[in-house]
Amino acid sequence: MSTMTAADSRSATRPGPHRGGIRHDQARPAMWFLAPFVALYLLFIIGPALYGLLMSFFHTSLVKPGLSAFAGVGNYAEALQSSDFWSSLWHTIWFTILTTPPLIALGFVLALLANRVARGSWFFRLAFFAPYILPSAVVALIWIWIYTPGLGLLESMFGKIGITVPNWLGDPTWAMPSLAITTVWWTLGFNFVLYLAGLQDIPRELYEAASMDGAGPWQQIRMITIPLLGRTTTLVAVLQVIASLKVFDQMYIMTAGGPNFSTRSVLQYVYDQGFTNYRVGYAAAISMLFFVVVLAVSAVWFAIVRSQERQA
């Protein structure tokens, strides 16, 4: 992102042949080229965003036209006092904690290993990346079957080595870790590919010089690979945290937020309040609170990238 801004401001300030006449000459065609995208963007992104903000201050109902009665900050106050909201936020964060570290660590380690292997890279890419492009519904159906008590593959595999497994999706303590396992399997490929690309950007002379100096493979990884992948890791981490915070599909299909609401995420809470209880004003307020959380994560990322660039 920052590379782009640098390039952009350069081209804007550069005194070039485009000064004077030609410059303003292009305003009209530029408008026509921008119009289709900007129109859709205003109608379906910016418009709804502002409307959602407005709605969050009203007792808007799904089944009544208009905004209904003014609520002030009532919806926000209610959300912040609601134990359901806080528990759904906690479930979302718990899911993020359970998925982010393994997805980053496994993505890194497997990319590192795959990068050392000369042949068969297509096979590893297929194995790790293929699940990523499957629809959540397909992934959910397969894993519900794997987790099925009594018949599931996991229970039988662990049973063979004498381990009794929990009732994965049916046990409130285990439901969330089960969803996390499914998610790690499903989305690992994305991080794997990002790390693989990052690894290939490291000049191989560095490794050659290090091995001349007698550094073993482990030392090379510690002294060269890990530090040079710092930027990739920040990127992977922030994309991962945001993706995990937005979790909805897995819960919706695999547990419907249960058992006993133990896996209801923020987005599912929005869905339940807005489309099951028809309280869209309140649902909009929760969406806004959730938006603030995502923005905060993005802001932290931006700050980290800035400081990394200053060091570089």
Partner: protein, 294 residues
């Protein structure tokens, strides 16, 4: 290209170090690497193989958990094709995902062309305004978007699925990056020759932009195909449902017919596995390129 870079990466470990320097320690290390990697790859493939294995059994055989298939049959697949609306769902997914991809490529590349190649006032402001869209997760907009489509009477139409998915800031960003890399005077030279901007965009710029077009098109297509939450809200008519919505809706109805459930999952996965095998390179490169530069 991805495969060549991978081969180069392979050559780095194999060819970068001369034979004499390859210590037994390094050899052992590499062998452990391969072992661990293969073990993980197998673990990762098991769920898919297990789904296929189950789908090839008669429903009655799924009550014993074994990889062995005594009476292999395609019956579960034919039943799914006959008893569910899956063929309609394919059509719905195909139509909505294709429309989303086509509209996204056209509108985003046009906007990016203006932002990259043309000069006008407030260009940076507009670019930042569009980039701000990156910050808004689509999911926080579902409530107001739903009301919007309700009030314009487009619920239960494909337009409701397609339109909100088209204006994606990321696509503009990818195209702009690509256009910024094109020679600066391309545009001016064509102008001198008397070509209009639309002709320059269509006959000069876009043909040079194939890699970005395919990356954006494939990603938009896969994302639109896999989207669950939004189509779930706006498509309640079973005949219009997309594959994810249809599968999520009927999953309960299969009950204990596990072979049928897995057959439906595999049928739902097939088009994307085909897309993946056909465009593996573009997909992997697309993620690597946009991810790191973005």
């Amino acid at each position: 290209m991805a495969s060549t870079t991978l081969e180069r990466a392979g050559a780095r470990t194999g060819g970068g170090v001369t034979v004499g320097q390859v210590t037994s320690r390094t050899k052992l290390f590499n062998r452990i690497c391969i072992g661990v990697l293969i073990a993980f790859a197998i673990v990762w493939l098991i769920p898919l193989l297990w789904a296929l294995d189950t789908a090839l059994k008669p429903n009655a055989e799924t009550t014993t958990t074994t990889w062995l298939i005594e009476n292999p049959t395609f019956a579960a697949f034919t039943r799914t094709l006959q008893d569910t609306d899956i063929l309609r769902w394919y059509a719905a997914s195909f139509i909505t995902a294709t429309m989303t991809a086509v509209f996204t490529v056209i509108t985003a590349s046009m906007a990016a062309y203006a932002l990259s190649q043309l000069h006008f006032r407030y260009k940076n402001a507009i670019f930042w305004f569009i980039l701000a869209g990156l910050m808004i997760p689509g999911q926080v907009l579902i409530v107001p978007q739903f009301r919007e489509f309700e009030s314009i009477g487009l619920l239960n139409t494909f337009w409701a699925v397609v339109l909100p998915q088209v204006p994606t800031a990321v696509a503009v960003f990818i195209f702009k990056q690509f256009f910024d890399g094109l020679p600066r005077d391309l545009n001016e030279a064509a102008r001198v020759d008397g070509a209009g901007y639309w002709r320059i965009y269509r006959t000069i710029i876009m043909p040079l932009t194939r890699p970005a077009v395919s990356a954006v098109a494939i990603f938009t297509f896969v994302q639109a195909w896999n989207n669950l939450l939004w189509p779930l809200l706006v498509l309640t008519n079973p005949k219009l449902m997309t594959i994810p919505v249809g599968l999520a809706t009927v999953q309960g109805q299969f009950g204990i017919r596990y072979a049928d459930t897995m057959a439906s999952a595999i049928l739902g996965a097939l088009p994307l596995i085909a897309v993946f095998l056909l465009f593996q390179r573009n997909i992997v490169e697309g993620i690597a390129g946009t991810g790191l530069k973005g």
